[in-house]
Amino acid sequence: MIALLRRDLTLALRAGGGFGLGLAFYLILVALVAFGVGPEGALLARIAPGILWVGALLACLLSLDRIFALDREDGSLELLATAPLPLEGIVTMKALAHWITTGLPLVVAAPLLGLMLNLPGPGFAWLFVSLLIGTPALSVLGTFGAALTVGLKRGGLLLSLIVLPLYVPTLIFGAEVARRGAEGLAVQTPLLLLAGITCGTLALLPFASAAVLRVNLR
């Protein structure tokens, strides 16, 4: 399974792998909001946590359809399904590879982009923490959506429509942590709920994704 993770990371980093696309999109999106809203520091500071979270969500979405579609095209997915690895493990490794190549760079970049949106001082740490806890759920949910749409030609849009509503709870609590952090309020409740959602998706969705893949490979 480590070999699968290593292969996916290698492929993402090589030409045409799409590494950095999500990050560049995130940067541009945040810059556009800053330009669009204008130089109103107080307004930007108020909307910064929400914008930074929505941007991370959309950037995450960009690379989801690659998770299984490429492996399906070249036949690797069928061969992996007949390999001695459990399909649940394969799905988990795929989600982990997606998180490392897409989610983690977003987490690291978000505080820097917070500067552009005039995020208040105490908010930086909580934005980082909320994204660090929340983005794994985005990758796992996205992997489930990718498994659902793997057999479809041009399933990318359908994938977005399926996955975005599933992202809502993570977005609500993630942005709430960042907002409360920025305003200096107690963050414990939304932080625990966010962590709970992530733990729940990590525990349950690999099984659902594997079951869906089995049906789609038939």
Binding site: A3, D74, G75, S76, L79, A81, T82, P84, L85
Partner: protein
Amino acid sequence: MDMRVKDLCVARGGVALLEGVSFTLAPGQALILRGPNGSGKTTLLRCLAGLQDPRGGEIGFDRELAAYGAHADGLKAQMSVTENLTFWAAVHGLSDIAPALAAFDLEALRDRQAGMLSAGQKRRLGLARMMVTGRALWLLDEPTVSLDAASVALFAEAVRAHLAGGGMAVIATHIDLGLPEAAVLDLGPLKARAEMDDFDDAFGGAFL
């Protein structure tokens, strides 16, 4: 361990394609599947590989023993020949890819990116993948597509070596592989009579 298949019925898209498929394969034996296009060779192989469930009948062997070689080779264009083979070996818990490279004459190409290979070279790499699975039963779907005569001979040699080592193989093919010892199963006469119920099931009754 013998491979027993008894009275197997396979379906694609809800419509039965083959019924009454029965054969037994002992270690060291190979079976050639023949039949016109669309007769169900691929579907039968996918069933044997465990990628889909049969409609009926019994498959009496452990599917963990089977390695499946499909039309698509499962190669990554951005990775080298060695990296591709090493990956599939690692997935199957093995690490030695040298015999597979040698058997399919890929040593000179070992550092070439898979995307730069010709169709025949890719196919050879895909077949070399079967060797690094370390599995006893090879299920091969049209393995000789885009291979030249010399490569077909290499492939036949590899299959013979695999059989000599106690392996088994089920191969769907149209051409003569030069394996006279292999049994031949003609799927033509096993074509399922498509029943009206099948169509109703497959299309939710709205089709007819």
